[in-house]
């Protein structure tokens, strides 16, 4: 259908465009306890088309754009109608001019994945087996799970000769672990793999079972006050997203961020670990067909890359990088044992840990935390934390031990001082 779309664009005189074709098949399984509640299959083909309209306004060169979805089987007359409407809309969008990404026709990039070469059913079965392998206890078990195995082939072409395609395999999902004693509680977990990491998934479920057992023992919130807190794993990813978001070209161009290359964005008062962080390319091309590669984002707290698509990069005069969803952070200065040597509140599970990239505030309700008062460790639940990265970044100490998931590779644990905790009143 790409050729048909190009023909219609040509017949309408629309010279600038970008077409993304996505062909995806999936197998989806939904479990309640150890029973398959529903199996689903999908076969979907989608076309996302961006049309661009160059024009002048008040003597300034502009390039408006408008995105639309085209559906398989659309007739030529309908294609003409919707593309013409999108072009007219693009002519209303007064954004300064920029050049589209230029490229050439490249060989299709095949997925370098251990899922490749097997059916989606086989991939699903393998990961379902890994998911349920550790589910062997009477009182703590997987309450429910959803698993999605996908194979996607994406093809990107634009008016400036970009013609690239690549395939991806992914198995992702979520599961809820329930523990019934001494109280009935649950914890929620997600996973996503581009390879058949069965051992990792099995280990994650084992850890989830342990966490849920601890959650069942926790009765009360901590007392309200300021604490030294510990965060781990995916929560560190959420915390550090602040730097990823603030260094986006779109945020900088729109003045929501004052980040500049070579600025010490972690602040002038770093008393503990300085951050070194990479943006990790998980796919060979961006949605605009920009070749993706790993890039140094922060070196010892100093910004080294502004990242984003063609438009805002062009406005700022920096290299377009494409959009990133994953980061790698270098190991910290202390072991987990050292981080846990003095009193702390280790929040192992939130209901929903959030970072506001505008204000820098982070917070969430505590589902499970371990309170160490210097003598003993007590599991606690309830209350919340509310902190600011602008303060926290002065005194963050990261672990030497590492953790890895789809969107984050880096220290397993971070220690942050003086974070406000809402809990029991004295």
């Amino acid at each position: 259908m790409i050729e048909q779309i190009k023909d219609v664009l040509g017949s309408l005189g629309i010279e600038l465009y970008c077409i993304v074709e996505s062909v995806q098949e999936s197998i989806e399984c939904f479990f309640i306890r150890k029973k398959l509640d529903l199996k689903r299959g999908t076969d979907l083909t989608d076309y996302s088309v961006t049309v661009f309209c160059p024009f002048e306004k008040d003597g300034q060169k502009m390039l408006g754009s408008s995105v639309l979805n085209l559906h398989p089987g659309m007739e030529v007359e309908e294609l003409k109608e919707v593309l013409q409407k999108a072009y007219e809309a693009a002519a209303l969008v007064c954004n300064p001019y920029y050049e589209l990404n230029k490229g050439t026709k490249e060989e299709a990039v095949l997925a370098d994945s251990t899922f490749a070469g097997k059916s989606l059913e086989e991939n699903t079965k393998q990961m379902v087996a890994a998911l349920y392998e550790a589910d062997v206890f009477e009182d703590t078990f997987i309450n429910s799970a959803e698993i999605f195995a996908t194979h996607t082939v994406r093809h990107i072409v634009n008016a400036c000769a970009v013609d690239v395609s690549y395939e991806t395999y992914q198995v992702s999902g979520e599961y809820v672990v329930q523990c019934t004693t001494p109280q009935d509680v649950e914890t929620y977990h997600t996973f996503s793999y581009r390879d058949a990491n069965v051992q990792t998934l099995r280990k994650e479920v084992e850890e989830a079972i342990t966490i849920t057992r601890e959650r069942a023992k926790a009765q009360n919130p901590p007392k309200a006050g300021d604490y030294t807190i510990l965060l781990s794993g995916k929560h560190i990813n959420t915390l550090l997203r602040y730097y990823v978001e603030r260094s986006k070209t779109g945020m900088v161009y729109q003045k929501f961020s004052n980040y500049e290359i070579d600025a010490l964005v972690q602040g002038q008062e770093i008393q503990k670990d300085a951050l070194t962080m990479y943006l990790k390319a998980k796919e060979p091309y961006s949605a605009e067909g920009i070749p993706m590669k790993d890039r140094l984002l922060l070196q010892d707290g100093t910004l080294k890359t502004l990242h984003g698509g063609i438009r805002f990069a062009s406005y700022l005069g920096v290299e377009p990088t494409g959009e990133y969803s994953s980061i790698e952070v270098m190991a910290g200065s202390q072991t987990v044992e050292e981080l846990k040597a003095s009193p702390y509140l280790y929040i192992a599970s939130f209901s929903d840990f959030q970072m506001d990239e505008f204000s820098g505030y982070f917070g969430g309700e505590i589902r499970l935390a371990f309170l160490y008062d210097g003598k003993s460790v007590t599991p606690v639940t309830g209350g919340s934390i509310n902190g600011s990265i602008l303060e926290a970044q002065k005194h963050m100490t990261f672990s030497k031990e590492l953790y890895c998931c789809e969107q984050y590779e880096g220290p397993y644990m971070v220690r942050i001082e003086n974070v406000a905790v809402a809990g029991l009143q004295e």
Binding site: F31, G41, V67, E121, F358, A422
Partner: protein, 476 residues
């Protein structure tokens, strides 16, 4: 004016009926849902502008659900023609027959009854005053630009004024052996989003709008520009919250977030099936103050989540979830109702034809009371007026609350002091909060500018709201 049905759906209907008949030759239960949905987004700000279709909200395709008498299987697809009908039937057959292939040793399939259906033929459309397509992209953008310019003119301290709106126009066709149902719906929503800088920190304030209808909503947006800008500037003077439990007055939008996140998710009955919802054990019990009566339903209000039938062919309901403090019943999709042997309540919703149906909220709200806002504030020695909800997360199993709010206005000796705190995390135990509700205003306001997820996915349009409420809440 009534929303017109999709030409695409009308064209494909005979073919879909043929597909249904072919599948009914093999399976005792078959349903097909066809959707044609167009969502258009508009956004203007100081240095950015966007017009186009919303990728998630614009879709056209089909989902077939079959039961072989024991097990359910679904197939989502977005191509159908006479030439590929055999291929579609064969793919569904493969999926049904290979269900066991994905199961390692020790796992089985859940058996279900085939749903009993009543014969139903239905056609309906919602109404609007001004069609945004007829109004045109240029007129909509001009309107938004005008609001933006007014917003930026309020003060040099305003970093940006982003003005956005979206509309969705969709037609759904549900076919099964006994049912032929068609509906066409349009909603529109919008937002003003102001920001101002305090050093590196960007403070922002957001005002939402929504309507079951069309571009008539846009006129409301310009009325609040100055207020929205002024509150953003107030936030530059905000202090971090001092954690504690306080007497609070919640604005209707904060009430709506509490209704939706803290309690609504917990009465979604697919959670009862999984034994994930504490609410199941409290049916018939007091879970809230006697002042509280809570509704959910696509026909309970005229808002963005209003429809005539759900994505499983069940007619819309107005479900009274809590009546004068007593939990009466949950809300349910079809499959959960089969397990629980209850009646479905018209809450089986899909993000799109691409996704599974779950039990989902629609328009969810508390009924109003008899107090005035002034009386509520005057009754507080020390506490806060909570405004501008940001996000929340459900905890149906343990009834924990996590809601994020942008502003807490200090109340001392029955009066607002002018001091503001931001941001705020609301936590606590749901029944404790609901039982502490001691006053409610008369006026009920619903809004549905955002989307609701199940966990972190499956986004559907919902509205929520209620009156101003006074309650005791832990803030952090």
């Amino acid at each position: 004016m009534k929303v017109q049905e999709s030409v695409f759906i009308q064209k494909k209907k005979p073919l879909l009926v043929k597909l249904l008949d072919r599948l009914l030759e093999c399976y005792p239960y078959v349903s097909i849902l066809a959707m044609d949905s167009k969502t258009r987004d508009f956004m203007v700000s100081k240095r950015n502008m966007r017009v186009g279709e919303n990728v998630r909200g614009t879709s056209r395709g089909f989902v077939a659900r079959v039961s072989d008498g024991k097990y359910y299987t679904e197939y989502s697809f977005n191509q159908v023609s006479e030439e590929i009908l055999d291929k579609i039937c064969n793919r569904i057959k493969e999926l049904v027959e290979s269900s066991n292939c994905v199961l390692p040793e020790g796992l089985k399939q859940q058996e279900y009854q085939v749903p009993l259906e009543e014969t139903m033929t239905f056609t309906g459309s919602t109404e609007y005053e001004l069609d945004p397509e007829e109004m045109g992209d240029d007129a909509i953008l001009a309107h938004l630009n005008n609001i933006k310019e007014k917003g930026l003119a309020v003060s040099d301290q305003i970093l940006d004024c982003q003005v956005a709106c979206s509309y969705q126009k969709y037609t759904k066709l549900f076919l099964s052996k006994e049912k032929t149902m068609e509906q066409s719906v349009m909603w529109m929503s919008g937002a003003l989003f102001f920001s101002a800088a305090r050093g590196e920190e960007i403070k922002d304030y957001y005002m939402p709008y929504s309507t079951l209808g069309g571009a008539e909503m846009l006129a409301k947006m310009e009325l609040d520009v100055r207020t929205c800008a002024e509150v953003t500037l107030e936030l530059l003077k905000s202090a971090p919250m001092i954690p504690g439990e306080y007497d609070c007055v919640c604005t209707p939008d904060v009430t709506g977030m509490i209704v939706h996140e803290a309690f609504g998710h917990g009465v979604e009955m697919d959670m009862f099936v999984k034994k994930r919802a504490l609410a199941e054990e409290y049916i018939g019990e007091y879970v809230a103050s006697k002042l509280v009566t809570m509704h959910d339903g696509a026909s309970a209000a005229s808002e963005v989540a209003t429809y005539f039938f759900d994505d499983e062919g069940t007619m819309a309901h107005d479900t009274i979830v809590i009546e004068e403090g007593i939990l009466k019943q949950g809300i349910s999709d079809l499959q959960s109702a089969l397990v629980l042997q209850t009646q479905p309540t018209g809450n089986g919703r899909r993000e799109s034809f691409r996704r599974k149906a779950y039990t989902r909220m629609t328009n969810t709200f508390f009924e109003g009371g008899s107090d005035t806002v002034e009386e509520m504030i005057a009754s507080i020695d020390y506490g806060f007026l909570l405004e501008n909800p940001r996000s929340g997360m459900e905890d149906p199993k343990n009834w924990g609350i996590q809601c994020m709010v942008n502003i807490a206005r200090e109340i001392r000796d029955g009066k607002l002091t002018g001091k503001v705190f931001s941001p705020i995390v609301l936590t606590g135990y749901v029944p404790d909060l609901l039982k502490s509700i001691s006053m409610m205003s008369k006026e009920v306001v619903l809004c549905g500018s955002g989307m609701c997820g199940k966990g972190y996915k499956e986004w559907v349009k919902v509205s929520d709201g209620g009156p101003y409420i006074k309650a005791k809440i832990r803030l952090g």
